[in-house]
């Protein structure tokens, strides 16, 4: 039978239909069904179906069906952050390893003394604490195999740090990128740089893993009244500020706040120390303004020099995984903390007290950023006085901001170690009882050659591990 509103229902939903009580069936609509599609509908996975989970061993009876489901795990799951803490755990001593006696302790002078090249030095415990707070140690380094942390003073260390300390002493700004082959000891040189910073009474700020800032792992929030819009990492910056405070407490507690901070959400009196400014808040939302105030204070003349280091430079030379409110991807340089570093590295920030801005590249965990590679290549050529290589004319995706950030930086290329250095290192390993072989010229030469002519990480792999790592 033809209804009266038959024609109308084509145009808009009939009033009868709208008024009618919605049946249960109509609630099925929200399961997103595309209005028009050319692809077939996929059904959800049947949870009861047998799935090939885990490894199936021969000789084991395969249990199919629902019987298997009965076993439930009643034990307590690991707490939040516990699993990550296990992954990031850094062990700096091994009670089983033998004690190595007769090694000198690290001093500020040792790191710049050419006569100390090839020496193994032990790290003093307060320096270890500072470095640990600044997260200078990495879980991939082999600190945990030895009785107490020691390190090798290599030629690159002396070259780099000698230049750096001299120039910072003259209140210059050192802007350097530490580059080099994979596992050649770049992060280790970064650690030594930080050690030199701590020992030379610099304010050391370290970003241990740049990828934490760009891979959308931590929370972020827009900073009001910024153009272009910038974003901060509240929790991360709060933690960083606490680390800065506890690592540099000795210096920061001596310095007194000079500027008026009327815009800050917390009240800061004029005579309080910078350490108290750094620990002024525990609220993540106030982290960025206070961090910024601290930074401004540090830039005042008469303050100690700043050392700002960052590991994993290539991660911040790309577009991050964060999204702006308009759902556009945010460029890494629009993230406030990274912007701070990048402006310092690019020479836009003026440091009246001298500063060392050091970026460390990584080769193992990094992505290929052509802009950064080209910029570093150009910087290296400029440094060596060679003709500057031109950009690839047919690559359209060069990022101008990356070139801007790396304008005029010095590139320090970390090389492999010499046989002499390898020998002293291996003697230390053998004396610790970890390398159980006779260390003579023959074995040193053998391992040194196996390690690609003295690539430090490969030397460790060749001699410290029974099976390959």
């Amino acid at each position: 039978m033809a209804t009266a509103n038959c024609w109308r229902c084509l145009g808009r939903p009939s009033t009868q239909r709208l008024l009618a009580p919605s049946s249960l069936a109509s609630f099925r609509a929200p399961t997103s069904v595309a209005a028009f599609t050319t692809s077939a509908t996929l059904l959800a996975k049947d949870d009861n179906s047998f799935s090939m989970k885990g490894h199936i061993r021969s000789g084991k009876r395969l249990v199919l069906g629902k019987k298997k489901k009965g076993k439930t795990d009643r034990s307590k799951p690991p707490g939040p952050g516990e699993r990550k803490a296990f992954r990031k755990r850094i062990q700096l001593s091994n009670d089983n390893a033998l004690k190595v006696t007769g090694l000198p302790e690290l001093e500020a002078q040792k790191l710049v003394d050419p006569a100390a090249v090839g020496q193994i030095v032990s790290l003093p415990s307060d320096l270890v604490d500072q470095l640990r707070t600044a997260e200078a140690f990495k879980p991939t380094q082999n600190w945990g195999l030895f009785r107490s942390p020691h390190m090798l003073v290599r030629k690159d260390t002396v070259d780099f740090l000698g230049d750096l300390t001299k120039r910072v002493g003259n209140k210059e700004t050192v802007r350097t990128v530490i580059d080099g082959e994979r596992s050649v000891g770049k992060s280790m040189l970064g650690l030594q740089t930080m050690a030199a910073g701590f020992m030379n009474k610099m304010v050391v700020i370290n970003i241990p893993e740049a990828q934490d800032l760009v891979e959308a792992r931590t929370d972020y929030s827009p900073i009001p009244r910024t153009t272009p819009e910038q974003f901060s990492h509240p929790t991360y910056i709060l933690k960083l500020m606490q680390a800065i405070r506890s690592a540099n407490e000795e210096i920061l507690s001596k310095e007194i706040v000079k500027l008026e901070h009327i815009h800050l959400p917390v009240s800061v009196s004029r005579n309080s120390s910078l350490a108290s400014l750094a620990s002024a808040t525990k609220e993540p939302e106030f982290a960025w303004p206070i961090f910024h105030a601290l930074w401004q204070e540090l830039l005042q003349p008469g303050r100690p020099p700043i050392m700002f280091t960052l590991d994993g430079l290539s991660h911040i030379m790309r577009i991050s995984d964060y999204r702006s409110p308009s759902f556009n991807l945010i460029h890494s340089h629009d993230l406030a903390l990274i912007r701070l570093f990048v402006e310092a590295l690019g020479g836009k920030t003026y440091f009246p007290n001298g500063a060392a801005i050091v970026g460390v590249t990584t080769k193992g965990n990094s992505l290929k950023v052509k802009s950064m590679d080209k910029a570093l290549e150009q910087a290296a050529a400029d440094q060596a006085g060679l003709p500057i290589p031109e950009r690839d004319a047919f690559y359209a995706k060069y990022d101008e901001r990356v070139f801007e950030a790396l304008k005029g930086v010095k590139v320090f290329d970390v090389k492999s170690i010499s046989k002499l250095e390898a020998r002293s290192l291996m003697e230390y390993w053998a004396a610790s009882g970890v390398l159980r072989m006779r260390v003579d010229e023959r074995t040193v030469s053998e391992k040194w050659t196996l390690a690609g002519n003295g690539v430090l990480g490969e030397l460790e792999r060749a001699s410290l591990y029974v099976s390959r790592l």
Binding site: F86, R87, D95, L145, Y465, S467, R468
Partner: protein
């Protein structure tokens, strides 16, 4: 060209024999193999095999025995070498050997000097890891990812190296002759080998289908080779590891769990010991089946 393919052509190669060639029909019983029964050259205490009418492995009495036994043995005079330069050379060499010197000059003709340890028959270039490490690494491997397994292996060894020295339980003794426990962490390969070899079962129980009669399987204990034993032990340990819950994340987690299990094996806490005991009990019980009539009948065949 005309071809002449015909079946007759093939017949030309056939040879007809009118007589059979059964020449081996009357086979003589094999003469006893004397050399096998000889003692070693250096063994002065070797005895003659027992000869008696009852014993099975007796040598047949020699025919010439009667006459030679009566004769008194005279030492033959030493053979005189002719004063030849060849002989002089050989004698010099013999004297060299007798003096305990090396017959060949060391390093002559060798490009890289003499090796301390000569490679064995089955050794080759790729055999660079200890045998147990090699086997366990392969057993850890999943989906053919050897590199990953190797990383796990070295992380396990590192964990053993850094964890504190184990306390061996007197209830679960390790292999006899094991080094003291506090020396183990500095030799992680020995640590791992000791754990695996200590917990490895000595035997396995084989089920002979339907042999016990009435469709029942006959359980027979069977000794295992060293490699087999290690494999069983590692699989047990891995079973125990899979039941453990992981407390962390990252690539070191699995290695951590395995290493913990190995430490608990050394300390006697692991459930793997119970499995070993069960197998041994079963094997002891099944020992009686070795004289089962069905088995004997089969052996006689």
């Amino acid at each position: 060209m005309a071809s002449n393919l015909s079946p007759w052509g093939a017949c030309r190669s056939l040879t007809l024999r009118t007589r059979s060639i059964l020449q081996h029909a009357e086979r003589k019983p094999a003469a006893p193999f004397h050399i096998a029964r000889r003692g070693l050259a250096g063994n002065t205490t070797s005895r003659d095999p027992p000869s008696g009418p009852g014993s099975d492995g007796a040598l047949p009495p020699s025919m010439a025995g009667h006459s030679s036994a009566e004769k008194s043995y005279t030492i033959p005079p030493p053979e005189q070498f002719a004063p030849n330069w060849l002989n002089a050379d050989a004698i010099a060499k013999l004297e060299q050997v007798a003096a305990g010197e090396d017959l060949y000059d060391e390093g002559v003709g060798l490009k890289f000097g003499k090796l301390d340890e000569l490679p064995g028959k089955n050794d080759h270039l790729q055999k660079r890891y200890p045998e147990v490490i090699d086997q366990v690494t392969k057993l850890l491997m999943r989906d053919g990812k050897l590199s990953k397994a190797q990383r796990d292996m070295s992380l396990i060894l590192n964990f053993l190296r850094t964890s504190s020295a184990p306390k061996v339980s007197p209830l679960r003794p390790l292999l006899p002759g094991a080094p003291p426990a506090h020396t183990l962490p500095l030799d992680p390969v020995l640590y791992l080998t000791l754990a695996i070899d200590s917990v490895a079962p000595l035997l396995r129980v084989r089920n002979m289908k339907g042999m016990a009669g009435g469709g029942n399987a006959l359980e027979l204990p069977e000794p295992m080779a060293a490699r087999q034993r290690r494999r069983v032990a590692v699989m047990w340990i891995l079973d125990a590891v899979n039941k453990k819950k992981s407390k962390g994340s990252g690539r070191a987690m699995f290695a951590h769990r395995v290493a913990e299990e190995i430490i608990s094996v050394i300390e006697g806490r692991s459930t793997v010991w119970d499995r070993r005991q069960n197998v041994h009990k079963l094997g002891t019980a099944a020992r009686a089946n070795l004289n089962h009539p069905a088995l004997l009948a089969k052996r006689r065949k």
